[in-house]
Amino acid sequence: MGETLKLFGWKVSPYSHRAEVALRLKGLKYEFIHEDLANKSDMLIRYNPILKKIPVLLHGDTPIVESQVIVEYIDEVFDGHPILPKDPYERAEARFWARFIDEKVRPQVWMSCWTDGETQKSFIAQAKESLAILQGRLEGKKFFGGDSIGLIDIMACSLALWFGVMQEVVGLNLLNEDDYPELCRWGEEYRNAEAVKECLPERELIVGFFAPRKDRIFAKKAPVYD
């Protein structure tokens, strides 16, 4: 397909990063259109009217939305670096871990940052368990995908950078080298991978988002964009 690729995204968002890293892994040329989430463009709303969220991949005139759906689409359409395995059982296994990350790890880790008291203790306990389970999946390999980045690595990206920054901003010490040596080692491998380096945001950008909005995010338990 010779059609153009455009990605509506926001550098601070790990979801946006997932889509971008998939494009980079395949060596694809694309235009990155930066969205101000406090002031969404008409084009974003036109291409994602139901959810009105980034990332949105535009292939020619057709939008694809939801970060994992975008990653799988890129893998199916474009040759080059394989993101999902070929074998159906291994694909199912990768997709299971993708869901585990999005349904357990990420929400538990997020809520560990943005709650306090007994509620926070409960989320921290859950997050610790889930992080340990996820770490077990690494089995000493360089990446979750083996020698190279795969779907699980991409879906886990917030653990490689975003979560570390967020926990510093709120003063939490959950994901650290003592407790999760393998996950932290993986995080460094991930950050240093060629395709990732090209599209990883600077720490300061993420700090610059969270630090001034700390109280409001704490109150809402969800990101605040303005």
Binding site: E66, V69, Y73, P88, A92, F100
Partner: protein
Amino acid sequence: MVASAAVRLFGMWASPAVRRVEWALKLKGIEYEYIEEDLSNKSSSLLEFNPINKQVPVLVHNCNPIVESLVILEYIDETWKENPILPVDPLERAKARFWATFVDVKCREESRKAFFMEGEEKEKAIENLQVQLKALDEELEGKKFFSGDHIGYTDLAVGWMAFWLGVAEEAAGFKANYDVKFPNFSRWMKDFLAEPVIKDNLPPREKTVEFFRAFKQLGSCTKVNQK
């Protein structure tokens, strides 16, 4: 047909996620052994095959477990090539996956809130659910099923709403009013439930309403673990 011993499904009779997998297996003509789980007393087999989530459904194929109902659907489609459930075109596949994520994450969350909560929170959840139903209704414009003339992945993903949304409404005393407000969706619910593979594979309605009524009284989401 595939030999039954090679394919096993661990399930629970009232679970929409389990039925979703059974519908897919039946559409493909795959023979399987069904094992009913008592989720208050899970079998050692279930815990062995799904140690992380400890939930149903679990599909076991040649001793390999696959969990998460939508993941299982894709596995089934990739392993048994006859009667494909997902579209062939990657853009159509992406659309199908989007809708599946939409109902499984967004619609299920609002339905859960409408079911468990009371007062203002319940009303807000019903409002949000109706916005979601409107999107589904618009998607069905000019189509018999989400997947076209025949049921496919998207219909199987949305399918829980055709039966269990009504069950939830009756058990928890609310109405999403789709019959009045969303004619395409309402029509799709009837057509979907009339399909032979679906019709012959639904739990008994009264028993299911009673089950969910009791489930609501327990006030807990963890008693019935299903995905």
